[in-house]
């Protein structure tokens, strides 16, 4: 501790506080607000305001260059919901999301269980699963677009080796979704594995001992102790992956060179649809309508997720 720099001011208990003292007190009261204000200011300007203003743009005719036009009520929403493109994009978004989130959570919990053994070289294995995290999604999709090439692709050649006919990973609907989901899984499984691993290590050991006394083997312990205890973590991972997963853009955008989500829109997602409407067709009104709908969808799915995950995780055992 540093020595006192200057003597304390003489005490004057009976007199009212001086201006200086009052300034110090006011300063003390304001400082915390000053410290937290950058976040709130920035959030209001670049987060909340644009989000709310999207609703305003969505009920107007609004051009990228010309700007605001007349008020059209729900017309933009009617046009968006009336177009097959929107529904196709919604289907694709959901399909890709399910193919990436469900296997990813299962895989991540499994790998976490392996890492939770008393391993030699723990840090090495942990770093190994995290490696894909430092590859940018844009680079991931360039690599996987090559691996999943319809002609001369590694995956198709491997399939050929085991006698499976080549899959048209780009031109067909479900295969293209699988390929894109694989990219998402590649980048995020390791990250979520470490989250699950941390949660597993926080589970008290006596729960396992009690289960072992009751005659539960390793597998049984995993399903009736580990999985239920991971419930809050599963909810956390699923909710964060919902928010990001339903807005997926990078991977489908770069899966081919045109970036429109396939010749027939077979892997066009809602965010690509939003971008195409806004920046290719310069219709900000309809783009905003898509943004509002996607927002509502994310909120709705978040709530559904919350309920389902809760139920699944409690069904396994009771605490």
């Amino acid at each position: 501790m540093k020595a006192r720099g200057r003597p304390l001011p003489p005490q004057r208990p009976a007199t009212p506080p001086t201006l200086r003292q009052r300034l110090t007190a006011a300063n003390r009261r304001c400082t915390p607000y000053l410290y937290i204000s950058p976040f709130f200011l920035l959030f209001l300007i670049t987060g909340l305001f644009p989000l709310l203003f999207t609703g305003w743009v969505a009920v107007h005719r609004w051009d990228l260059i010309m700007g605001q036009g007349e008020f059209v009520g729900l017309d933009n929403f009617r046009r968006v919901l009336g177009s097959p493109d929107f529904w196709k994009s919604t289907r694709n978004t959901f399909s890709i999301f399910l193919l990436s989130s469900v296997p990813q959570v299962i895989l991540a919990i499994t790998i976490a269980a392996l890492l939770n053994f008393n391993l030699r070289g723990r840090t090495f294995w942990r770093m190994g699963v995290l490696l894909p995290y430092v590859v940018a999604p844009v680079a991931v999709v360039l690599i996987f677009s090559n691996l999943f090439a319809d002609r001369f692709g590694v995956i198709n050649s491997l399939l050929d080796l085991v006698g499976i006919a080549p899959v048209r990973w780009h031109s067909e609907v479900l295969p293209s979704h699988l390929a894109i989901a694989t990219m998402v899984n590649f980048r995020w499984t390791g990250y979520n594995t470490l989250i699950f691993l941390a949660a597993m290590q926080a589970i008290p050991r006596d729960l396992y001992e009690a289960a072992a006394v009751d005659g539960a083997n390793r597998v049984r312990q995993f399903f009736s102790v580990t999985v239920p205890m991971l419930r809050p973590t599963i909810i956390f991972v699923v909710i964060t992956s919902t928010i990001g997963g339903l807005q997926i853009f990078d991977e489908p955008r770069l899966y081919d060179q045109y970036g429109r989500g396939g010749a027939d829109g077979q892997w066009r997602t809602l965010t690509i649809h939003l971008y195409e409407l806004g920046w290719t067709q310069s219709d900000f009104g309809r783009a905003s309508a898509v943004a509002v709908l996607l927002f509502l969808l994310i909120v709705a799915i978040g709530l559904v997720n919350f309920t389902i995950t809760r139920r699944i995780a409690t069904a396994g055992g009771h605490r």
Binding site: L130, A136, P137, V138, F186, L194, Q247
Partner: protein, 290 residues
């Protein structure tokens, strides 16, 4: 710096004594397969990048790197503004990381250690904003940038990233547990100003968490694509945006495209080999504290 150790040494000793010993080779085998899965695509991109563009059409897969990497790299640098993109990515990622760390630590210190009216609800508000997909406000945000004349300029990417809710939350959690109240009181008795107390008492105590926050922010900003793609355009790209241009121009030339992917990944791979341990323990700490 203390790395995250979930079990104490005694715990682990007890575990070993209890007969829970080293796992069998099957576990190592499975983990090796996982490792192969995470490393192979990266290795593959380098294999293709080091050959010429006809390698795949010859229907024979390369097993060892070829000698064309540097000539491919030169071609990438000629066809997109590569060095400009590298410079932009470094500038954007560094300034965003520094700013996020500074403002998050400041706010985290206030939430963790200063008493003020409304601090509880305000912190809940900060956490709640993490669940709001604010990226969906792109249309108005783009209009704001256009009004300011910022489209195509780096501030358009830097300014919205200056402070993040996750950072504030993370620093609040850390400072709350790492900084004893007595230290702050002592500093105040000594006549330190508020900011002086923050700077010379709170910041040194929070340094490990600040490093980690900076690391994660750097990776996230470096790899970010959607917003830079919308607001920057072709003339002044960050690396992911330049990769997109490269791919749009040379899609069928896989060697060239994957050389670009390699070049964009190398800096972060280097970061990973230096600080991967910190990334691992950062994720694991965040998971326990959430």
């Amino acid at each position: 710096m203390k790395t995250y150790v979930p079990l104490t040494r005694e715990d682990r000793q007890a575990r070993r004594n209890a007969g829970i010993d080293r796992p069998s080779w099957i576990v190592y085998g499975c983990l090796a397969a996982v490792l192969l899965g995470s490393a192979f695509p990266i290795w593959w991109s380098f294999l293709i990048a080091s050959h010429d563009s006809t390698i795949l059409a010859r229907n024979s897969f390369p097993m060892i790197p070829g000698g064309n990497f540097w000539s491919n790299a030169r071609e990438v640098m000629d066809s997109v503004p590569f060095w400009r993109a590298v410079g932009n990515s470094i500038l954007v990622s560094t300034s965003v990381s520094l700013s996020v760390v500074f403002f998050s630590t400041l706010a985290g210190y206030a939430f963790a250690k200063l008493r003020f009216r409304g601090s509880g609800p305000l912190l809940v508000f900060v956490i709640a904003t993490m669940a709001i997909p604010t990226q969906l406000g792109v249309v108005p945000l783009f209009q704001v940038m256009a009004q300011l004349g910022w489209t195509g300029q780096l501030h358009a990417v830097i300014v919205p990233g200056l402070v993040k809710a996750f950072g504030v939350f993370w620093m609040t959690q850390y400072i709350r547990s790492a900084l004893p109240d007595e230290l702050i009181e002592a500093a105040q008795v000594d006549g330190c100003s508020q900011f002086r107390t923050f700077w010379s008492i709170a910041v040194p105590a929070a340094l490990p968490a600040m490093w980690m926050l900076g690391l994660f922010t750097f990776v996230a900003t470096w790899t970010d694509f959607f917003w830079p793609f919308i607001v920057l355009g072709a003339g002044n790209p960050t690396l992911p945006v330049a990769l997109q241009q490269l791919q749009a121009a040379h899609f069928v030339n896989y060697s060239l495209v994957l050389t670009g992917a390699c070049l964009a990944t190398i800096p972060l791979l280097a970061l990973f080999f230096v600080a991967g341990r910190q990334l691992v323990s950062g994720i694991m700490q965040g998971a326990v504290k959430q």
